[in-house]
């Protein structure tokens, strides 16, 4: 493996001597050392990750390889060697790929494969993909193996063989009709030996999907429907048991934008891929759930402000109904308003009555419920952005969030609600110097906290930068939370970071201090990030 890596380096240095060959190379190195905290117990943490991507372009062929040195990764096990590789041919709208790839069918109700290194999530396939794109028709055929590593127990791997295809037909410019089909065979690890392929549980999932898109008069309408049939086979002591379950999902959106500078988007989701009772729901790895390669839109806002992006709503793709509306409006050429509101809940609730589990339905079958039994979530957000010069701006926002998962068996609600006011200003000091300041104030309520269920957080960030060379950032956070309720045991955190650009494509960052941690989510995939105290270093390079 090391020989392959050094061979790549040699090739990269000598490639310009080969005619008709182009190449590209990028590298991302991360290193950190310090201590983390989990459940009040500190532990030493050191990670070293180096990801090198190289591609060779020869006429209509492309070859790519990723060499990974995670020893270890910040989350998950070590890896040393070739992690991804592929060969691709492309000509006249046809693209054939053998090796590693990610792909998207429609809006992801049937299949949405992607990678997010930041939260160590990867649903890349290893196999074959054929794509054809023309003005009227797009077709993708895909087949391959997926080894999905669990987000919580990273030693647990679910193995899938996926086969599927999708098409999108545009008979006229204003309309697109599409459909997909995914066939998946999954093998689940046994409880006793999570990393052994043989287990008593297999699942066969078949997911057909249809969709329609219309564009006219400034409006964009999209609607899709998917149905999932999951046949699970359990090999136990008493023999083989087979069960079939069905689920479905709907996603729709309506967007409008006009020349006067305003636009709105309305989104609706009704994901019922596995609506089950609380006894069954406890098993979050059950084979009938929305499977890891299904990743439709989350239909609520993902935030940039620090306190708003920590501990967001954790979507359940198996059982969630909700909607979102977002409006952008340019009041003037310098002032833009952004308003957002979203709500979601489970489809059903359950109650024990005389030893029997009774189902409770929502009053309105088309809308989420804000009654506590249905694990309601809602959020409202408003933001004003004012550019008082060509490059200096002020951004002020308001957010109110309420999230209350309900546990039917104990009749317990875990209510988390917050009111947040973030303000950011960026100011041109002249001579290439910029100063950025950010203040975020938050009132937080967490019903599970024993000592301080109500507390305040205050986040401050100052960045001084000089284009194009460097920037210096200082982030501090205060909290009135009782240290016994806080996983890190602290109520004050400070982190300083210096970034320097060696060239326009080579950047070094060094940081030191303490970070609070929390739940970080991206595209509906969430990871618990432990509090950290120490040093971080990274180098981003590209040729």
């Amino acid at each position: 493996m090391r020989r392959c890596f050094f061979l790549l380096i040699v090739l990269a240095w000598t490639a310009p001597t080969f005619a008709q060959i182009n190449y590209s190379f990028n590298n991302y190195l991360r290193y950190g050392k310090g201590t983390k905290n989990r459940g009040g117990i500190g532990y030493n943490a050191e990670y070293l990750e180096n990801m090198a991507n190289a591609r060779l372009f020869m006429d209509k062929f492309t070859m790519g390889v990723r060499f990974l040195y995670d020893a270890p990764h910040e989350y998950g096990p070590s890896f040393l060697g070739i992690q991804k590789r592929y060969v691709e041919f492309e000509d006249a709208g046809l693209q054939l790929r053998a090796g590693t790839y990610w792909t998207l069918f429609g809006k992801g109700l049937a299949m949405n494969l992607f990678e997010n290194r930041g939260i160590y999530f990867d649903t890349g396939l290893d196999g074959l993909r054929a794509t054809y794109r023309s003005d009227m028709l797009d077709v993708i055929l895909a087949a391959g193996n997926l080894a999905y590593r669990d987000m919580i127990d990273t030693s647990r791997i679910e193995n899938y063989v996926l086969r599927g295809g999708t098409f999108a037909l545009r008979p006229v410019e204003e309309m697109e009709i599409g459909g997909s089909f995914v066939d998946a065979d999954g093998v689940f690890p046994s409880l006793n030996a999570p990393n052994i392929d043989e287990s008593g549980v297999t699942v066969k999932a078949e997911i057909p999907e249809i969709n329609l898109a219309l564009h006219a008069l400034g409006f964009d309408l999209f609607a899709s429907y998917a149905r999932k049939k999951a046949t699970t086979t359990l090999r136990g002591l008493s023999g083989i048991e087979t069960r079939t379950s069905y689920g479905e999902g709907i996603y729709g959106s309506l967007a409008y934008a006009d020349e006067d500078g305003w636009g709105f988007t309305f989104e609706y989701k009704d994901y019922r891929f596995d609506v089950v009772d609380p006894f069954t729901r406890v098993d979050m790895n059950r084979p009938t759930r929305a499977l890891p390669f299904q990743n439709p839109p989350i239909v609520f806002k993902e935030h940039a402000f620090t306190l708003l992006s920590r501990d967001p709503h954790q979507i359940d793709f198996s059982d969630e109904i909700g909607l979102q509306i977002e409006v952008f409006y340019a009041l003037t050429s310098q002032i833009v308003l952004n308003l957002n509101a979203s709500a979601a809940s489970r489809h059903k609730s359950y109650k024990m009555v005389n030893g029997n589990l009774r189902t409770i339905e929502r009053e309105n079958r088309l809308l989420p419920s804000l009654a506590k039994e249905f694990s309601p979530f809602y959020e409202v957000y408003g933001e004003l952005e004012w550019y008082f010069t060509e490059v200096s701006f002020l951004r002020a926002a308001f957010n109110r969030r309420f999230d209350a998962p309900y546990e039917e068996l104990g009749g317990i609600t875990h209510e988390k609600s917050s009111t947040t006011l973030p303000v950011k200003i960026e100011y041109d000091l002249g001579e290439g110097y910029f100063l950025e300041g950010e203040v975020e104030a938050q009132l937080f309520h967490d019903s599970f906290l024993v000592h301080t269920p109500d507390y305040t957080n205050l986040f401050l960030m100052t960045v001084l930068s000089h284009s194009p060379d460097w920037s210096v950032a200082l982030r501090t956070e205060f909290s009135s939370i009782d240290e016994r309720d806080e996983p890190s045991g602290k109520s004050f955190w400070v982190f300083g970071e210096v970034t320097y650009r060696l060239t326009s494509t080579h950047t070094i960052s060094i940081g030191c201090g303490t970070e609070r941690g929390g739940v970080i989510c991206s595209s509906g995939i969430c990871r618990q990030v432990d509090p950290f105290s120490g040093v971080r270093f990274s180098v981003l390079t590209q040729w």
Binding site: A304, G432, T503
Partner: protein
């Protein structure tokens, strides 16, 4: 000790390679714009460089961004008055903003860019296949191309004030200084 040695070695290799920038622009692609229309880079480049009888010098900027990327949005916003100024002066400049949002946000992209009134060509790359082809690693990622498709420079990240350096690169090329 071993890790420090690897770390040091990697840093030396990386810094040692700084002179090896390569041209990636033999890559052609077609992407849909926010109105659902398929646009081809080849056609856009052709419009920029003019005809064989009346060739023109020009610059095309390819910039990858996402709704969740604050520096990306800052870069697009900061460059807007510069872009309009260059166009007003009659300079042949085109800006292609390529959005990388996954399907979670593509419905909102159009309303966002309309409210901001960006004068750029807006394309969608939800699978990131073009981003990968052009050696994208992180965003914002900006390529500055000649009318022939050859690379003038590329940039990763955005520090406020970078837009002025971008303007300088464009003017230097168009005036024949580079």
């Amino acid at each position: 000790m071993r890790k420090r040695a690897v770390l040091f070695g990697l840093v030396v290799v990386l810094l040692g390679g700084t002179s090896m920038a390569q041209d990636l622009t033999s890559v052609q692609f077609k992407l849909k714009d926010v109105n659902g229309k398929t646009r081809s880079l080849q056609k856009i480049m052709k419009e920029v460089r003019g005809t064989e009888d009346t060739p023109r010098k020009g610059v095309v900027i390819l910039s990858f961004w996402a709704l969740w990327c604050q520096p990306c949005k800052k870069e697009m916003k900061a460059f807007k008055p510069i872009f309009l100024r260059l166009r007003k002066e009659g300079l042949n400049v085109e800006y292609i903003a390529i959005n990388l949002d996954n399907i979670r946000s593509t419905a909102k992209v159009k309303s966002y860019i309309t409210a901001q009134k960006y004068p750029y060509i807006q394309l969608l790359d939800p699978n990131q296949r073009v981003f990968e082809k052009l050696n994208g690693q992180s965003i914002p990622y900006t390529l500055v191309l000649k009318e022939s498709g050859a690379l003038i420079n590329k940039h990763i990240g955005f520090i406020p004030g970078d837009e002025k350096h971008l303007e300088e690169e464009i003017r230097n090329y168009l005036s024949g200084d580079s």
